[in-house]
Amino acid sequence: MSHDLSNQEPLLRVEGLTKYYGARLGCADVNFELWPGEVLAIVGESGSGKTTLLNSLSATLEPTSGRTLYRMRDEQWRNIYELSEAERRFLVRTDWGFVHQNPADGLRMTVSAGANVGERLMAVGDRNYGHIRETALDWLGRVEIAADRIDDQPRSFSGGMRQRLQIARNLVTGPRLVFMDEPTGGLDVSVQARLLDLLRGLVGELGLAAIVVTHDLAVARLLSHRMMVMKDGRVIEAGLTDRVLDDPREPYTQLLVSSILQV
């Protein structure tokens, strides 16, 4: 964020995004902009449409109507649903990242941790083994995986380690936008805290823009600048994260916030 409030362009512009599965509504008329370095949390319960929205935004799903415009590295604005498959796949493995809830969906479980991190480098043409390995080691360090695990397969890793490896694999090409689907789901509470803290540090340090789907309001509070609350496929409340959590307006948001267990 610069001093000047107006001179910077967003990275992503979502216009009227709607997805129907046949007659059933996935998400309806979603509009927002995302700026570089900004973390947006999408919260809501199962079936609220948040995963449909995430999959549409990341071009995994094609929406029924609406556009998602992305500012490419060459500063051209492109509707991601109109990219050729080659362009889309290149975007996905260079300028974007996708952190799945289940690390097995985002990792190659039968190749070593080092190769998991190095794959995206090789995919963009790095042909120097020494450099690939050095970069992989550096990233393993940043996600707190011991260097001596570099040649082990993620099959032998704990859930938290796998998730951290998945994050390293995604960030190695210096993406500008990362999608995360319940990144701490399925992990023990203590492991969650470590992962969240790590993500928070990396996102801040790298100036990443991120869209995080979560049903955990603590995750939203810790990671995001801004949040959107979804219910029945629609965004019912949006704003600064601490504003939405501390002064919720909508009945459903008030219910969500008041349902948090206090410790």
Binding site: E85, A86, R89, R108, T110, V111, S112, G114, A115, G118, E119, R120, L121, M122, A123, V124, R127, N128, Y129, G130, I132, R133, I150, D151
Partner: protein, 291 residues
Amino acid sequence: MNAVASYNFAYLDEQTKRMIRRAILKAIAIPGYQVPFSSREMPMPYGWGTGGVQVTASIIGPDDVLKVIDQGADDTTNAVSIRAFFAKVAQVATTTHTADATIIQTRHRIPEKALGEGQILVYQVPIPEPLRFLEPRETETRKMHALEEYGLMHVKLYEDIARHGRIATTYAYPVKVEGRYVMDPSPTPKFDNPKMHMSAALQLFGAGREHRIYAVPPWTEVVSLDFEDHPFEIQHFEEPCALCGAEQVYLDEVILNDRGGHMYVCSDTDNCEERREAGHVGSLGVKEAAE
């Protein structure tokens, strides 16, 4: 023709041969690209070279001279059987001499003697998809070929170096054809990879079980994948062939006794015999003239 009157020339019916030839032509037009074809049941089990046999059957004519090798040898069961098969169903002349053959069907080797224009090398291929090892989904691998997404191929080489300190893949070593498609050269030793590059001969690959045909036309660039700091290199042998004294050829280890005695001999039997006839002798060889 009496003995085999019930068979069409070269066993396959003409419609099938035409279908396979069309696949071959497409494969030649797109070097390294795997063309699907409708593989037929052959009178031999899968794994015995049904893909290569169908390709050979589709291109062979009465004037052709056929050589068949298995791991470089003309005299192993598989080679002898296939040679006998075509001698019977196509009544073509057969040979063991590389230079005399117009079609050479091979399992797992490329002859040592450089092939010339007009010769065709037919490879028997078990698994045509080089990406299969890391990506089992055929829909995905086809997309990767289409979009030239070959980073994954280097993941395998990376794993090799990470585990063994060097690229330990010694056969079925992936190549890039004419700067476009990554191709599995079938389980030939990587020793043979350089022979594929700018070869004067037409190289055809048939995978019967997998229903795929691909090709490298004559004078085509074939480059083995590698890393800048771990360049591709072929195997080197410490000693020459014990029979003919040849160096810079691919050698098989032969165990001589149960006390650890062994020798290295040419894998290409025809090349070895020709050399011995020309008077070359290895450490355990016997001078032909002295017999």
